[in-house]
Subunit: 510 residues, 2 copies
């Protein structure tokens, strides 16, 4: 039974495949004293359209350095999605003499195509590993299951990859048996840790008779991460199955643990949910982080999607029954509350204005305004709006939802169902159609608005989180589209850090 550590390859998802040189040296040093057979150091790849670091391309000097510093068999991996047999000479000839095994990451749907890639790799004399993904969904991949036997003579290690971290030990046994019935090729297991089952699944795979398993130091790897190298080694040592230099182990664990504090890999509730339901963790995470959606609605929507259930309601389209010259769009920034008194006076003074709430956060401050108030219900705003009003008077109220069908389904507080409309399309911007700001602006345009005021669009200061920065950039992009597409001048009447908004003061306007 062989062990493979793929920390640099799988951990690269967090560092964009750049690693400190000292760290890599310490990594190789420590592993020279640890009972691991293979080290996968990264990808080899054709040129991609974005910056990706050293270990995504593994140029020849990286291979040389690794060969000098490591006494282990070295491995690189190819992304089958982006690599064809004709790329093999360019990508892999420089690896000859440095690399023992070339692995190929494969979507089972492309299994047949992967086989011809494997043949080209095999010709150069490498061991070939097949990392076939989405193991928890293989039962739906009948075509692929019928093709497994074709690996005989081409592939050295056929890996079952638990991409969602959602399989249980009994699933490992079942899938192992299915594969073993198709081929005598050595089998491997690569587990993810969403449900903290990576260790028990890997031990189960070993018990079934797999020939190789993967780990990474501290579990560093995409999303919830992998089986921790230190956990498998410590467990096998505890069972008396291998000798272990704990000092070497702790020398490599320490620096990666420090990085983990910064990058935060490891499982959490959204990743657990992905694992337990075989849902793509990338989507779950991006929806959770942006906080537009509640976990319940994400899970409901994703489960429905994966079951092909449509939980959308096709509402009436918003029509321009009444036109307005001015709109005040109120976001969720603290200034919306802080300057609420002045904003209320400003609204009072305008003849022909409508209020559009892109967030429920400040909407309570304007509950006594007797002009048309529109609430934009993208994402989780339906629930938030419900939470923020004990009872809602629907006089002069409208709620507007994004165009049908909506990613996250339809949720409208019951008392507002009669005044709920959807936009037919969002046309003023080519991107960010799920943004509440886009929704607010498109609504205003639909109502004939010519002058756009914004309040509560403060931006973010101090230490800015990545997701805040993303939201900020998104809004800037949206404001720019409004300016370009209609020659409008969006005006912020409360303090703002958005460059695209023209700053004025609400106090000068009342």
């Amino acid at each position: 039974m062989k062990l493979l550590d793929c920390t640099l390859r799988d951990g690269g998802y967090y560092t964009n495949w750049d690693f400190d040189r000292e760290l890599v040296k310490a990594y190789f040093d420590a592993f020279n004293n640890l009972p691991i057979d293979y080290l996968e150091i990264g990808y080899r790849s054709n040129s991609m359209n974005s910056y990706l670091g050293e270990y995504f391309y593994c140029p020849q000097y990286v291979l040389e350095d690794a060969k000098i510093n490591s006494s282990k068999k070295l491995v690189i991996i190819l992304n089958e999605k982006d690599v064809r047999a004709e790329h093999v000479p360019d990508l892999l000839e420089p690896c000859v003499g440095y690399i023992t095994m070339v692995r190929i990451a494969i979507d089972p749907k492309n299994f047949k195509r992967a086989l011809s890639l494997a043949e080209a790799v095999k010709k150069l004399g490498f061991e070939v590993g097949f990392n076939v993904m989405y193991m928890s969904n293989w039962e739906n991949e009948k075509e692929f299951l019928g093709q497994i036997k074709e690996i005989n003579g081409i592939v050295d290690y056929f890996y079952m990859v638990d991409s969602f971290g959602g399989v249980y030990p009994e699933d490992v046994r079942k899938t192992f048996d299915i594969v073993r019935n198709q081929t005598d090729t050595k089998i491997g297991f690569h587990g993810h840790n969403n449900l903290q089952l990576a260790l028990v699944n890997t031990l189960t795979a070993i018990d079934c008779g797999v020939s190789i398993v993967d780990t990474t130091v501290t579990g560093m790897g995409r999303g919830a991460g992998n089986l921790q190298t230190e956990l498998l080694l410590t467990a096998l040592n505890g069972k008396g199955e291998l000798d272990l230099d704990f000092n070497a182990l702790s020398k490599v664990v320490d620096p990666f643990e420090a990085m983990q504090k910064e990058y935060g890999w490891g499982t959490n509730l959204p990743y657990m949910v992905s694992g337990a339901n075989s849902l793509p963790q990338k989507e779950v995470m991006s929806w959770v982080t942006k906080r537009f959606y509640s976990l319940n609605s994400i899970i409901r929507a994703l489960s429905n999607q994966s079951k092909g259930i449509e939980d959308n309601i096709d509402l009436k389209n918003l029509e321009e029954e009444k036109k307005f010259k001015l709109a005040l769009i109120i976001g969720g920034g603290p200034s919306g509350k802080k300057h609420a008194k002045a904003i209320n006076e400003f609204i009072d003074k305008q003849e022909d204005i409508c209020l559009i709430h892109s967030s429920s956060k400040n909407s309570q401050e304007f509950k006594d305004v007797h002009k048309l108030q529109i609430h934009c219900l993208a994402g989780n705003e339906g629930h938030r709006l419900e939470d923020s009003y004990s009872e809602m008077n629907i006089k002069d109220k409208l709620v507007v939802l994004p165009p049908y069908p909506r990613t996250m389904g339809t949720y409208i507080p019951e008392s507002l169902e009669d005044v709920a409309f959807q936009l037919q399309e969002i046309s003023f911007t080519d991107k960010f159609h799920e943004s509440v700001t886009s929704l607010a602006i498109e609504t205003a345009l639909k109502l004939g608005v010519e002058k756009f005021y914004f309040a509560g669009y403060d931006g973010y200061s101090g230490e800015i989180k990545a997701q805040e920065l993303e939201l900020f950039n998104e809004n800037e992009y949206i404001f720019e589209r409004l300016k370009e597409n209609g020659n409008y001048t969006p005006i912020a009447i409360t303090p703002t850090l958005y460059d695209s908004l023209e700053p004025q003061s609400v106090f000068a306007l009342i």
Copy 2:
């Protein structure tokens, strides 16, 4: 099958049983919407000799608040070690009407005594839970195993507690069968997560037919922590076995996740090692944190201890062949290196001085000194010394070890074996006999030293870590003992933050 959440009780190990009122309210609110049956809110306890917070004593207003805010059955726990049947009226009568179940945490060695405590508890009408610890060692507890049947009619839930987080699913099955053969009483399982096996062990226990299992939010609990409530619920929901309000779940997970960043519960290499070898994690952690010992030596020493193996060598005692008037004790602080040139000159000027290295960190700076140099080898210093010298000239060298037998065994670099001695005792201080500074001072006293100089004892500035503070206080205590017990005046010749050292400047002395 019942679920019990014991976040406040088990999490208290990190917060000393104080929790923010808002957090507790949010905790109860969320659980009112979650499919959990019992909430264990804390201990009831006789008065202890140290500060322990609100949820360690659970005064009556805490019980009342919990009862008002929670719709769940409430539980408290007693530490059998500290509670006798005669304490039951005082401790438990105030709980009547608020608390449904009283659990008792039990060392299997005290099982018989626990039974009479249980009878007293049962008389007050509570459900009684028995949390019997150290499940992975039960096979050595024959007496206890023979007594299990005596719980019939007294105990409602008999818990198998995996205290070390070291059992595997097959162990859960085996132990369940052993218990089931002794009693028809309902069985429970409480898993720890050192090897990330808490989920699979708990699911296995459920499959065996246990009637109750424990979890805590984010796994908050002593050391590596518990099975995460959110993980068990998500897994059971994924298997279609219960409905789950993920919004409620995420409302309680969020604040505890934030606390986890501060307190850092969860598994790590030392906890894994404890789990895999059924070693007490408290000891492993305290040895690792102080950094006196390497992980290898801790594991070797603890495994040897648990197997009854003595890996100590009884060395020759250090004798006062030659006396010295002065000693310069050199610690590991940066000033030892920074001012090495001046310190070397200072040493040269003294007639009757010996050098005592309490750390290997700065010892290289004094390799050309031709006076007696003594290296203190406590903890891991033997390995460090070996690492810092490529070859060591043993002329004018001695190494001194703590008195026999030593907690962590004996490690002496091979080339130094002939010049290695141990102290017969450490008598000038009543505490910290394993400290390198104690060792250095006792050595100097043994050699008749009357004047104590210190270099490289800088103390710590800026953001001080808990373990640095502990070390600092330890050293202050040791210096004070030296001053008291012999009327010595320890002098620091490099910059120092220790109040007990009299500051002088090495530059004034050369």
